[in-house]
């Protein structure tokens, strides 16, 4: 069954989109990530333009994060104050990201920007996660688990504007979460992702937040950042396809439930190891696209101003 997407201006198979939503939803439920970093490249792969893919995926992530956050709120795993500070930074960052995106779209470099961002950030995060999880697996096997300090004190903790975050049991400078929110916000807008895969490690390793509140708080601020991206993309580029977003969402919701059930059967470090491999796989695929000689060296693009 086909459906014509009004903004993407192409006809797609409904079941293919539902299946993609379901598959990515399953993985995001399994690993506790948003899945934007998988979905956006997939959408581009089936022929949706990067501009529409990035904007529509932001819209879909809003919904995915809301349903995730509700579950975490029930378990009181959201640090609202920290989330609010991250959101302020994220709002500014994602606004800057959309401006960069629009400017580069006009000079024909948006593909390059999206792909290079993917390779760099998926590469770094994937490698770190893989190393960490392999270590954890070996440590688990040899049974010599060691407990470090809660968090280490560095120059980052000497910054001004200190704030107390009760749920996270932290007393740190507000500049730190503001900066992290800003930086991740830029990338969220450019890459069409929620940014959880960057936000979660940053919260654990840079802010020193307890792992229990990390995912819920990250999801909480992702709602606002992706909502901001959705709004700005709709206004600046008219590239948000709500029909596509709804289809993806429907599949993702069901998939995520199955994935969450599955995740109970695997150990944390094994899950992280598998996720790392998947992240590195996407990174390698996009990396190859950047260096392999393209089939056609020439590409075409409509010049703006001929909408409707």
């Amino acid at each position: 069954m086909s459906i014509y997407l009004p903004i993407a201006e192409m006809s797609v198979d409904v079941f293919l989109i539902l299946l993609m939503g379901g598959g990515v939803g399953f993985l995001s439920g399994l690993f506790g990530v948003g899945g934007g970093f998988l979905m956006t490249p997939l959408l581009i792969f089936i022929g949706i333009t990067p501009a529409v893919a990035v904007a529509t995926e932001a819209n879909q992530i809003v919904a995915a994060s809301v349903s995730g956050v509700l579950a975490h709120m029930r378990r009181r795993n959201v640090d609202f104050k920290m989330g609010a500070v991250l959101t302020v930074g994220g709002f500014a960052g994602s606004s800057v990201g959309v401006i960069i995106f629009t400017a580069l779209r006009d000079i024909g470099q948006v593909d390059l920007l999206v792909k290079v961002s993917y390779v760099i950030f998926l590469g770094i995060v994937g490698t770190l996660m893989l190393v960490e999880s392999v270590r954890a697996i070996f440590r688990h096997r040899s049974g010599t688990a060691t407990r470090g300090k809660l968090h280490q004190h560095t120059w980052l903790h000497g910054l001004p504007f200190k704030m107390r975050f009760r749920r996270s049991r932290l007393y740190i400078s507000a500049l730190l979460p503001l900066g992290i929110g800003f930086f991740v916000g830029i990338l969220a807008a450019i890459m069409g992702v929620g940014g959880g895969f960057l936000m979660v490690p940053a919260m654990i390793y840079l802010l020193g937040m307890p792992t229990s509140v990390v995912v819920g708080t990250s999801l909480f601020q992702i709602i606002f950042v992706t909502a901001n991206v959705t709004f700005l993309q709709a206004v600046n580029n008219q590239t948000v396809d709500v029909v596509l977003a709804l289809l993806l969402l429907t599949g993702a919701v069901v998939g995520a439930q199955l994935g969450t059930k599955m995740s109970g059967k695997l150990r944390g470090e094994e899950l992280r190891g598998l996720l790392a491999l998947m992240v590195l796989g996407v990174c390698a695929k996009i990396g190859v696209e950047l260096v392999a000689t393209p089939e056609d060296l020439y590409s075409i693009d409509e010049v703006e101003g001929f909408g409707l």
Partner: protein, 248 residues
């Protein structure tokens, strides 16, 4: 001098639209539909074109969507990575272009007439924005056509026109699902002995209808409100999903 005169004369004749060549209504043609609506289930459309001639002759049909500006970019390897480098913008690139002819175009008409009337994918008159060397411009022009062909937006068919007797002809015009919207021009040329004897032109409107049309109009004309509603839908869908699956 005489040669120059002949060239000018030939050019002049070539540029004369067949309108004032023997226009004696020796050709009539029409489409089975004059509007194509793009709705939710749209997967492309097929329009029947039929007509009659007053005798022998070949027929060429050109379907053309409104023009737009298209930028063609060429990738170059920089530090091991393929990056868009040079670019050339062309105006007057039809969003969709299809030619159906009863015989190969080069057998029907001389190059000059094909070019003057933009009959044939190779004869579309794109106008480049910048001046490049001839070979470069040709490469960009070819790339534009090649990319449009790959997307199924530019095409040529030969021999797909069926004739009944000498007088009646018909053919199906296929429009793919990714056709641009707008008012298309469908021109039919009657060709005899290397010249256009008569021609007729009709228009075909391709437009989004119903829900698709309303949504697109909304997205473009009230972009901020569209953005807010997109967010509200997502918020509600997320809340609803969370609510439903809590009970399960």
């Amino acid at each position: 001098m005489i040669r120059a005169l002949i060239t000018v004369l030939a050019l002049f004749m070539a540029l004369q639209l067949p309108a004032d060549a023997a226009r004696d209504d020796s050709l009539v043609a029409d489409l089975s539909e004059d509007t194509i609506g793009i709705s939710t289930g749209f997967t492309g459309a097929s329009v029947l074109l039929f007509g009659a001639t007053d005798g022998e002759g070949d027929v060429a049909i050109v379907v053309r969507a409104p023009n737009s500006s298209v930028v063609v970019r060429r990738k170059e390897r920089i530090a091991g990575i393929w990056v868009n480098a040079d670019e050339l913008t062309f105006d007057d690139a039809p969003g969709f272009y299809h030619v159906a002819a009863s015989r190969p175009l080069d057998d029907l008409l001389p190059k000059g007439i094909l070019e003057a009337n933009e009959i044939g994918v190779a004869n579309i008159a794109f106008s480049p924005h910048d001046f490049l060397s001839d070979s470069d411009e040709e490469a960009f022009r070819a790339a534009l056509v090649r990319n449009k062909q790959r997307a199924g937006l530019y095409s040529e068919t030969t021999g797909d026109i069926s004739f009944r007797g000498d007088r009646l002809f018909r053919t199906r015009l296929e429009l793919p699902a990714n056709v641009p919207t707008g008012q298309y021009d469908v021109s039919v040329y009657l060709i005899e002995d290397g010249s256009i004897v008569d021609w007729s032109s009709s228009s075909l409107v391709v437009e989004k209808v119903g829900f698709e049309a309303k949504l697109t109009e909304f997205a473009f004309e009230q972009a901020p409100l569209y953005g807010i509603i997109a967010i509200l839908i997502a918020l509600f869908a997320g809340w609803f999903a969370g609510f439903v699956f809590r009970k399960v």
